[in-house]
């Protein structure tokens, strides 16, 4: 049996691994090409009387078709190849449902008859009626098939989108190979959506058209001397010799470009920046930009499911493509679904974001905070500080250290586009609806931030006081206006008086209320509503600083700690037991007690489908008892589907 060993590390559905079959190993991701392209990682052969005799390289994939019949030598070739494509026909993307079914049934027969069905690769044409494929894929999986070929014609139209959608429907542990006309600039995107092998026959086609491929387009070349500068070996060698076979030089160059772009994608993935690379490639052509937007719309739940909840220390979000990137859209969604404000807030202060993250460490926010404290004299805790920003929408002060709020960076001009305003207004509307209608909204906003508020204000129940008429939010004038406004509102609400020493409940509030609020909000955000009050009850003793570490202890027992650098909570076993009743973020394994520092997918019997890579998870044994906590290395569904790989890195165990 062949198996796909997927390595640790996630950035969207992209992954790295090894296809291990009894007759060979393929490291993924890999470049796949015909025998006439040198330097590919895997060679495919279409059994054909003319070509079979000429093959000298080890073949990785044999691709017979349905109509040619078997040719001499094919069986020997197939026995030696780690992968054998199930035969089909050209044009299957446009046939009737009955015909597609009949063609795939033929493939299932072939797989069923094969000595090792795990080496058979299913060919799935990019048909419109994709629902048809689901049951056939399941049947193939049951037969033992673990790989699929998807077609891309390179037009970036409906058929290519269909292939992406089909990818999202396949079991996660299938090897998927994209064949057809794949431009170099498409490789990062296909890698991002979880394609493992890339057909580079386009390198040959371009060479025969006398074209050099680049990451951002093609160049017609009549003579290598008059062409753009290129430092690749194929081009530099060609420049030295006066005459050469132009076609083979171009082929060499083109494959070099694929190699470069794939390694770029691998590197970006390892840094958590693959999405950024994919977005940057959309500038190659309007077609690429359209395609990514369509992909995001069509398979967002799939991409989101495999996008880690932790990320790089620096996350550039540059254009409109970022607005709906999984990490960004998920933050907005989780905030809307899971955040609930502390009950005693009487003022909501809307603030602009800052370039430096977390916001409170920026110069502008330090001045805002000083102003709040001087205006309210210690009653800052009555204020819910809410940062308006694009494209995250709003970020409450308590969650400013969470990924991606503490890591993102955007180009700032002060002008917001309509989509940014729409997104932020929607987030603001939802956020403010969670506060009592009695609270006063103080809007310390100008420019685009004010536009957001204007777009949302009709749906805001609370009264809004504006502190800035125009100009900068950090000018002395603006800050003075903010101080006066807060002071006035505070006076009206009786906030300063409480500080003077009356025995009302605000008196008892610790001066570092933000610490408790941060831990509670973080707990709700990480583990779902209700987790905050379970993990950080009023009786909790909190020690430490938000920018470093805060431990939370109840009755002498530590429940969790907050790590400022990630903005996340780490659970102790006691903490895990407290929140296990919520029924979220659990992984059940086949056994009584954990051994070692890892839980492997093979041992996992079931897992919460809500789990994303990077999540803090609770490990349950067969009896449903909490026996460990740790960090997930994969998504819940992968833990269930995979037969290998590390599912959870255990932090504490029984």
């Amino acid at each position: 049996m062949s198996r796909f060993e997927i390595e640790r590390g996630h950035d969207g559905p992209a992954r790295r691994g090894r296809w291990v079959s009894p007759v060979g190993i393929i490291e993924t991701p890999f470049l796949l090409g015909p025998p006439n392209i040198k330097d590919v990682d895997a060679v495919y052969i279409v059994p054909d009387h003319d070509i079979l005799t000429q093959v000298s390289q080890p073949t990785v994939l044999v691709m017979p078709t349905l109509l040619s019949g078997r040719s001499a030598g094919e069986d020997i070739l197939s026995e030696r190849s780690p992968l054998v494509a199930a035969p089909s026909v050209v044009g299957a993307s446009a046939v009737s449902s009955e015909m597609v079914t009949a063609l795939i049934r033929e493939q299932l027969h072939m797989a069923g008859d094969h000595d090792d069905p795990s080496r058979v690769v299913l060919r799935l044409p990019p048909i419109d009626d994709m629902a048809l494929l689901g049951p056939l894929v399941t049947e193939a999986h049951n037969i033992g098939v673990r790989a699929a070929l998807l077609q891309f014609d390179g037009m970036l139209g409906r058929r290519d989108l269909n292939s992406v959608i089909i990818r999202s429907m396949l079991p996660r542990n299938w090897l998927t190979i994209a064949v057809g006309s794949i431009e170099p600039c498409l490789v990062p995107l296909l890698s991002y959506i979880g394609i493992d092998g890339f057909d580079v026959s386009r390198a040959d086609e371009a060479a025969r058209r006398h074209e050099r491929l680049w990451q951002n387009g093609t160049e017609c070349v009549t003579s290598i001397h008059d062409a753009r500068f290129c430092a690749c070996t194929a081009c530099t060698m060609a420049t030295d010799s006066a005459e050469g076979d132009l076609e083979s030089v171009l082929r060499g160059h083109n494959i070099h470009i694929y190699r470069t772009v794939l390694s770029e994608a691998v590197h970006a993935r390892s840094r958590g920046l693959l999405r950024w690379l994919v977005e940057s490639m959309t500038h190659v052509s309007p077609g690429m930009a359209t395609f990514l937007r369509r992909v995001d719309r069509a398979v967002y739940p799939y991409i989101e499911e495999f996008t880690p909840t932790v990320g790089p220390s620096y996350l550039p979000l540059i254009g409109p493509e970022s607005y709906h990137a999984a990490a960004v859209a998920r933050f907005r969604q989780r905030l809307a679904e899971r955040y609930s404000p502390p009950e005693d807030k009487q003022i909501v202060l809307l603030l602009p974001c800052s370039a430096r993250k977390p916001y409170s460490e920026s110069r502008s926010h330090r001045r805002f905070i000083e102003t709040i404290e001087s205006a309210l004299q210690g009653a800052r805790s009555a204020v819910a500080e809410v940062v308006i920003t694009s494209p995250l929408g709003v970020v409450p002060r308590e969650l400013e250290r969470l990924y991606p709020a503490a890591q993102y960076d955007i180009p700032v001009t002060g002008d917001w586009d309509a989509e940014e305003i729409r997104i932020a207004a929607e987030a603001l509307r939802t956020h403010l609806s969670k506060f009592s209608s009695d609270v006063v909204v103080v809007a310390h906003t100008s420019g685009g931030y004010a536009d957001v508020l204007r777009a949302a204000q009709d749906d805001i129940d609370q009264s809004i006081i504006y502190t800035i008429q125009g100009g900068s939010a950090t000018s002395d004038e603006a800050l003075e206006s903010l101080r006066e406004t807060l002071s006035d509102v505070g006076g009206l609400l009786g906030l300063q008086v409480s500080y003077e020493g009356r025995s009302d409940r605000r008196r008892r509030r610790p001066r570092n209320a933000l610490v408790g609020e941060t831990l509670r909000a973080t707990a709700d955000f990480q583990f779902g509503p209700g987790a905050g009050s379970l993990l950080v009850p009023d009786s909790a003793r909190l020690r430490g600083r938000l920018y470093a570490t805060v431990t939370c202890t109840v009755e002498g027992q530590q429940l969790c700690s907050y790590v400022g650098s990630t903005g996340l909570l780490s659970l102790t076993l006691a903490g895990a037991r407290r929140i296990s009743s919520l029924g979220n973020y659990w992984v059940r394994f086949d056994g009584e007690t954990l051994r070692g520092g890892s839980l492997f997918a093979v041992a996992v019997t079931d897992a919460d489908p809500l789990i994303r890579p990077g999540d803090e998870v609770i490990v349950l044994n067969t009896d449903g008892e909490v026996v460990g906590v740790g960090r997930s290395e994969m998504s819940g569904r992968e833990m269930c589907e995979f037969d290998n790989g590390r599912a959870v890195s255990i932090r504490h165990k029984e």
Binding site: P34, N36, Y44, V46, D48, H49, I51, M63, P64, T65, L66, L67, S68, G69, R70, P87, S88, V89, V90, G91, A92, S93, A94, V95, S96, E98, M99, T101, A102, L103, R105, E106, H109, M110, R123, P125, Q151, F152, D153, M155, R159, V179, G180, S181, D199, S201, D204, E205, R208, R209, H210, E247
Partner: protein
């Protein structure tokens, strides 16, 4: 039969259904033509039995091909029956059509070659009533200029009685019956083309004709749907060789052109089919000419050649390629193709080598 396919019936049924759907109501909504006028007729200078003469091609307007009319959907690439008419056509009408057409050569010098097409089967008694068939053959035999006659039929109508009738009516004329073999591979013919007859039936028809000294022309289809360019090339060459071995007298290569209301046309409009490259036609003719006995002529005149709906190359070289193909059909001389080249030829090589791997249609 293919040693790969497991459930041929299921596949052919699906193709038949698609073909029927593509056909839709196109047959019922055919034009009602004047039944006394042929669908088409044209003349050309040609070589008839070694001497320069005139060829007249006549397309009789009939009710259309029996196979195309029946409920299995007809051939996947052909809607020639749309040249026919929905109006009833009597035996008298057909004879009048023939007479009308022959007026075009009333003043022509002999020898004459008469090509009698029906967009169906001349020997099908339902399509061409026996009375009409008899009278038309009589008219031909009474014209002493005629030295060569081609009629067309599906093989199932090439039976002893029909062949004898033709032979007796035209005792001194070289007669050929053209039949659409298309591919000698049963899977390709039955599955991809929905042609509805087997290789054995075709061979039987060739032999029946030969027993009575009647020649046969095998129409060979270049690039049936669901075949890659490479498979199409291989299949066409193999089919030509097989046809020669079966004993046909002429091989006529027909590159697929996109005809309305066909399965092929649906695939084409959805970007899932490209008519063959003219390079493939040239290559097939060259390879076949080298393998086939000298006595077997190879002809080719690509319908809609050089257009998107017919066999085409890049646009720059289509004219030259078509010229060479037509010259070759007359001369059978392989040197006709010498020097034919274009910047698109390497691309065609790429298509041959790669289309089979991805099964993505290469344009």
């Amino acid at each position: 039969m293919s040693d790969v396919i497991r459930d041929m019936d299921r596949l052919t049924e699906a193709v038949s259904k698609m073909s029927l759907e593509a056909r839709a109501d196109s047959i019922a909504s055919r034009r009602r033509r004047n039944p006394e006028i042929p669908a088409a007729a044209w003349t050309a200078r040609t070589v008839v039995q070694g001497n320069e003469g005139t060829a007249i091609a006549i397309v009789l307007s009939t009710i259309g091909c029996s196979h195309a009319r029946d409920e299995n959907g007809g051939c996947t690439m052909c809607s020639y029956l749309l040249d026919g008419t929905e109006a009833p056509v009597t035996a008298d009408d057909l004879v009048k059509q023939f007479r009308t057409a022959m007026m075009r050569v009333s003043d022509a010098d002999g020898p004459l070659s008469v090509k009698l097409y029906t967009s169906g089967s001349f020997l099908d008694p339902e399509e061409v009533p026996p009375q009409a068939r008899g009278e038309i053959l009589q008219l031909i035999s009474s014209d002493s200029r005629v030295q060569h006659v081609v009629i067309e039929s599906r093989p199932e109508f090439v039976i002893e009685d029909a062949v004898v009738e033709v032979r007796q009516a035209l005792p001194d004329v070289f007669v050929e019956i053209g039949m659409g073999l298309e591919s000698s591979n049963d899977v390709i013919r039955l599955l991809c083309l929905n042609k509805g007859f087997t290789r054995a039936e075709f061979i039987s028809a060739v032999e029946t004709a030969r027993r009575h000294g009647i020649g046969t022309r095998a129409y060979v289809l270049l690039k049936p749907p669901f075949l890659t360019e490479q498979e199409a090339l291989t299949d066409a060459v193999e089919t030509m060789q097989d046809a020669a071995e079966m004993g046909v007298t002429t091989v006529s290569v027909n590159p697929v052109n996109i005809q309305r209301h066909t399965l092929v046309s649906q695939l084409w409009s959805r970007g899932a089919y490209r008519p063959p490259w003219l390079w493939t036609v040239v290559e097939a003719l060259q390879r076949a000419r080298m393998f086939l006995p000298v006595g077997v002529r190879i002809e080719c005149d690509p319908v809609a050649g050089g257009t998107h709906r017919g066999a085409h190359n890049c646009g720059d070289c289509d004219g030259a390629a078509l010229d060479a193909i037509r010259r070759f059909s007359l001369t059978q001389d392989l040197r006709t193709f010498d020097g034919l080249d274009c910047h698109c030829r390497p691309r065609w090589h790429h298509v041959l080598e790669h289309e089979g791997a991805s099964l993505v249609v290469h344009y």
